[in-house]
């Protein structure tokens, strides 16, 4: 697959941004989706300087009209959609179950679960039309383990992994692979917000056998691999890119 067309939601910061840069370096045509025009335009400039025919699309993954337009614009611009990285997510509200509300639940699940569902719905539509494609949903090690004080985020990421496997079964016959990448603690703005204190961050770091926090670029290399033809016989898998966090 030379110069694949890649769509990345939540593509402006953190792991999404690193994935955009990694795909651009491989010669991909990259569409980054996000909600901040200025940041998006600046990133597109950077991606183009790497030789990629990049575009930015303003989209909120919680809104189906936005998501439909995001996919349609990508196909209109580049003629196809080869790889989709559903990365847009929120850390939500940390807190005990007794503190949660319908509002806090919705705030976490609308972006992290509904966003992935809507994105896949429209990406699959485009990929089925061409008979091929690779979808990568960004989960978390919290997609298959528990964490006190993070039940909503943990629950949402568990949902992402279950949906990933189910859709993998649904669309295999159309030549579409669906996998998840599960980062461990990764040094991003989200982790800083999520952990709140340096001590909390240090506790997470001590759970990583390789002895430090992951970098967005390291997770991005895992995303590029699982999206590529090298991973042609892998579908429905959750790839941990976590420095061994899940093994500890």
């Amino acid at each position: 697959m030379n110069n694949p067309v890649v769509l990345i939601t939540g593509g402006l910061t953190g792991i999404g941004r690193a994935a955009a840069v990694a795909f651009a370096r491989k010669g991909a045509k990259v569409v980054v989706a996000g909600r901040r025009d200025e940041v998006g335009k600046a990133l597109v400039k950077e991606l183009r300087s790497l030789g990629s025919e990049a575009e930015f699309i303003n989209a909120d993954v919680r809104k189906e009209d936005d998501v439909r337009a995001m996919v349609d614009k990508t196909v209109a611009r580049f003629g196809r959609l080869d790889v989709a990285v559903n990365n847009a997510a929120t850390e939500g509200d940390r807190g005990l179950i007794t503190d949660q509300t319908p509002e806090s639940f919705a705030a976490t699940f609308e972006t992290n679960v509904l966003g992935v569902v809507l994105s896949m719905k429209h990406e699959v539509r485009a990929m089925q039309a061409q008979g091929s494609g690779s979808i990568i949903n960004i989960s978390s090690t919290y997609g298959h383990e528990g964490a006190a004080g993070a039940s909503l985020y943990v629950g949402a990421k568990h949902a992402v992994e279950g949906i990933t496997k189910s859709v993998a079964l649904e669309v295999a016959k159309s030549g579409i692979r669906v996998n998840a990448v599960a980062p461990g603690p990764t040094d991003t703005g989200m982790l800083t917000r999520f952990t709140e204190t340096a001590e909390n961050k240090a506790v997470l770091m001590r759970q990583v056998p390789l002895g430090r926090l992951g970098l967005s670029e390291e997770v991005a290399d895992g995303i590029v691999f699982i999206g590529s033809d090298e991973a042609r016989f892998i579908t429905g898998h959750v790839l941990n890119v976590d420095g061994g966090h899940s093994a500890n």
Partner: protein
């Protein structure tokens, strides 16, 4: 390409099947490959010749991993060639035997565990002095480790042991900067697989896979090449399911 330039690699069970494809893929990436064989010396010679024909570096190493000191003997030969640095250890050699619970003999059980579980354990132990920061270990596990397929009880248990070693070795060796992972293929078209030899076996295979084609060794090898490379520098403790989405 050439992601493995300057690296040294040992691939056990490399004379045919999946191991052969792995040896060729690592060599194609630029690694110097030690091609281990037990009884198929001529086939090992052919793999070495094929690598050299393409300008790569390879040599054969023979050892019977059923013997209690088989791993020790092999490690000595490897150390004599690579000295104090082995970058990539692929413990792939395996044997399989289909038998009902009633028909499984103590001898078969012991042979399966000797080659599939004991040898990888002691190969890691004996080569540890040559495994450095940045080195990595890759085991060949199996779909059978986590799902019931065929009458492979003793074989499946050996692969369960392999997955357990991945988890524990990754946690133990992470602080030394050594990564430990596995690939877990499902049914692959090799001489070892009984499933691929009959129409019924193929039907069962395609019935449990999301992707509706039989896997080839070349579908597995690029995943090992990824794990062996620095692109996977944040991946450890992982068993990648390369099984076309089996038993999701």
């Amino acid at each position: 390409m050439n992601k493995l330039n300057g690296k040294t690699a040992l691939v056990t069970g490399a004379s045919r099947g999946i191991g052969r494809a792995i040896a060729l893929a690592l060599a194609q990436g630029g690694a110097q490959v030690l091609v281990h064989y037990n009884s198929n010396e001529k086939e090992a010679d052919a793999v070495v010749a094929e690598i050299r024909k393409d300008g790569g570096k390879a040599q054969k190493v023979g050892a019977d991993l059923r013997k209690p000191d088989g791993a020790h003997t092999l490690a000595k030969q490897v150390r004599a060639i690579v000295g104090d640095r082995l970058d990539i250890l692929v413990a792939n050699a395996g044997i399989s035997k289909s038998a009902t619970i009633e028909d499984t003999t103590v001898e078969d059980f012991d042979n399966l565990f000797a080659v599939n579980a004991r040898a990888p354990f002691f190969l890691v132990q004996q080569l540890l002095p040559a495994l450095c920061k940045g080195s990595n270990i890759i085991f060949t596990s199996s779909l059978a480790a986590r799902a019931s397929v065929g009458t492979l009880y003793a074989y499946a248990a050996t692969k369960g042991a392999v997955d357990t070693l991945v988890t524990h070795f990754a946690a133990a060796l992470g602080p030394r900067g050594i990564r430990v992972n596995a690939v877990a293929p499902g049914v692959v078209e090799t001489e070892m697989s009984n499933f691929t030899k009959t129409e019924a076996g193929r039907e069962v295979t395609l019935g449990m896979q999301a992707l509706k084609r039989m896997a080839q060794p070349d579908d597995i090898a690029p995943v090992v090449a990824f794990l062996a490379s620095d692109d996977a520098r944040w991946v450890t403790g992982e068993s990648i399911h390369v099984d076309g989405g089996s038993k999701l």
